[in-house]
Symmetry: C2
Subunit: 367 residues, 2 copies
């Protein structure tokens, strides 16, 4: 653990991933995959076994190893910390478990103002020291390859949706009802979750994460006016406070076509989009000054390879030549994905990506 966190971040500034986030020229289009550390990898399955995911996250050696595995396997341009968006609320004792095949399940869902007391501020060094430790271990492991580590947190709305619904939902009826019927309580809840996200992300950056992604995975289930009124302010608060840490920020959600203008103004350097919106349109809708991340449909990565290849070439085409494209999937890697296909995909993106790719960089890579 020789390098200081500040040194890791400084070193990462020259990486294709961080440069693309900042819409600078790159030697090749950087690529990583949401859920690249996961069940699609045999080495991950053998590392994890059948144990609880929250227990694995709380073991820094295991979490760091899961974080680094996909870099070794695929040669991706960024690692993402092996963790979960419910870690902070779990860490302050809200009573959340992650059930295999189901997702986060909350013992006593958030229902009224009295539940706010169950969401005390997160003190990362005390409540979840294993997270910073996993970051430090992973960053040390990644240092020789100069691959940056992305830290992450759940955005206030998406975390709130689990707390209020009590688990995964297809309708979000309870959380929407709370938002509309008790806007004061809703704002108080989101404020607490925003502060927890800031603390959680800050701890990761201080431990060496060179970028952060805020997952607002379910924001796309909201109407634009709901997002603008009841979700955007807390999201912006997180992004603005994290921006002062000096690392690029990414804001991601699924089904967010109608929200891209608002999300583009939330303060992130990069807006992540799913496969529904072609990247050229996403760039326009996200407003000027933002890079885009995405957006290959993970359903097209289960094979056969020619299907993946054709769809990936379309994504690269739509990304264009302007700087500011981080190649990714439109959502997480599906467990049934063949790792061989993702490895081929990384090679294709490196060879064929054009967004902000300099001729010199191209020549240097080719040579």
């Amino acid at each position: 653990l020789s390098a200081t966190p500040a040194a890791s971040i400084a070193a990462a500034a020259g990486s294709p991933f961080v440069r693309a986030c900042r819409r600078q020229t790159v030697p090749h289009t950087p690529v990583w995959f949401m859920r690249q550390a996961g069940r699609s990898l045999p080495e991950y399955r053998s590392l994890r076994g059948d144990g609880s995911i929250l227990a694995a996250i709380a073991d820094p050696a295991v979490a760091a190893e899961a974080t680094v595995q996909p870099v070794r396997r695929y040669g991706v341009d960024a690692a993402i910390l092996f963790s979960d968006i419910v870690v902070p609320v779990h860490a302050v004792g809200f009573g959340v478990d992650v059930v295999p095949g189901q997702g986060p399940v909350v013992e006593r869902p958030f229902r009224s103002a009295s539940d706010l007391t169950r969401l005390r501020p997160l003190e990362p060094a005390v409540d979840s020291p294993y997270v910073a430790e996993a970051v430090r271990l992973a960053v040390a492991e990644l240092a020789p390859s100069k691959v940056p580590l992305i830290g992450f947190a759940g955005a206030p709305f998406t975390v709130a949706s689990y707390l209020v619904e009590g688990g995964p939902s297809r309708t979000f009826a309870r959380v929407k009802s709370l938002m509309h019927a008790e806007p004061g309580l809703w704002t108080a809840l989101l404020d607490r979750l925003a502060s927890m996200a800031v603390a959680f992300l800050t701890a990761q950056v201080e431990a060496g994460a060179a970028a952060v992604q805020l997952f607002d995975s379910w924001a796309g289930w909201l109407a634009p006016y709901e997002y603008e009124q009841w979700v955007l302010p807390a999201t912006r608060q997180v992004l603005e406070r994290v921006a002062s840490l000096g690392v690029p920020t990414i804001l991601f959600g699924v089904g967010t076509g109608e929200l891209l203008g608002l999300m583009g103004g939330a303060g992130a350097d990069v807006v992540g989009v799913d496969w529904r919106v072609p990247l050229d349109q996403a760039r326009r809708r996200g407003g000027g000054g933002r890079a885009v991340q995405g957006n290959l449909d993970p359903a097209l990565c289960v094979g056969p390879w020619p299907v993946t290849e054709a769809a990936a070439r379309r994504v690269l085409e739509e990304a264009g030549t302007e700087p500011g494209h981080v190649f990714n999937l439109g959502h997480g890697v599906l467990p049934e994905t063949d790792p061989g296909i993702l490895a081929e995909l990384v090679a294709l993106v490196h060879a064929e990506g054009r967004a902000g790719v300099t001729e010199g960089g191209r020549t240097a890579v080719a040579g």
Copy 2:
């Protein structure tokens, strides 16, 4: 059963619902709810009990009663046949069941060209005579109130998604993989499903249905190019052939913001949209010449009433004053919905809707 089907259809032409579908002036904004016949109604639960939904659909007296119940309860402007999108494939013996709390489950999913033989053409009079009989019974029951009956079918893609995935899916990986990897087989599958939908809808119209809705519920999980290339042609085929029957057609899907331009050109008179796209934008994107149906979020109908009311007023505002708005939810009624709220909602829409509402009509209603 005195009126002939042609007479029912002619009578329905003057109804606010059919007039709004055709973008004609109306005395009040018509309203109905997807899944208005369903578990949110106590009388439905007592009618259905715990039996199989496919058995209930196959009993014309039960199906007709379930169809008419919401008209009695809510005073909605249209009934929709109590049926299911898998009825045609079930009726030709593909081996589909509808499992409570889960949805359609397919015994042997569609995997290869040999499965095409399991999808022989539907002969409604032989394979599913109970459907036309239920339509006739419901239409006779509705005749005194002059409330039209909507027939429906699943659109080829959405039905195919169940056949290929084997049940409900969150990723549609198998069906997308088939579409991309075996476009010839995919087209053959969609052609068969299109023909079945046409036969199924024709039988309903010939029995007295005064409009039809094509449910392409999961089309919004596709990228626009996939929809245009592999889904739109079969959808258009169904809508064009049904248009010749002389009743208005509605095309509905969830999460279709990126597809509205394409869906608007598919040949339906009305494009249904969910709550993600404000109706004023939906009208523009659907192109000229189409009415819109929607789009209150069903999650906002679980109460309390002021939440539903405010959201419904917003929908009416966004619908504007131009003719061609059928008020509906953005997706089906949730089972936990309080029927009292839907009854209040109907009254609100009738009193406050403005799209194509004539002053004479308004005065007549108010008087």
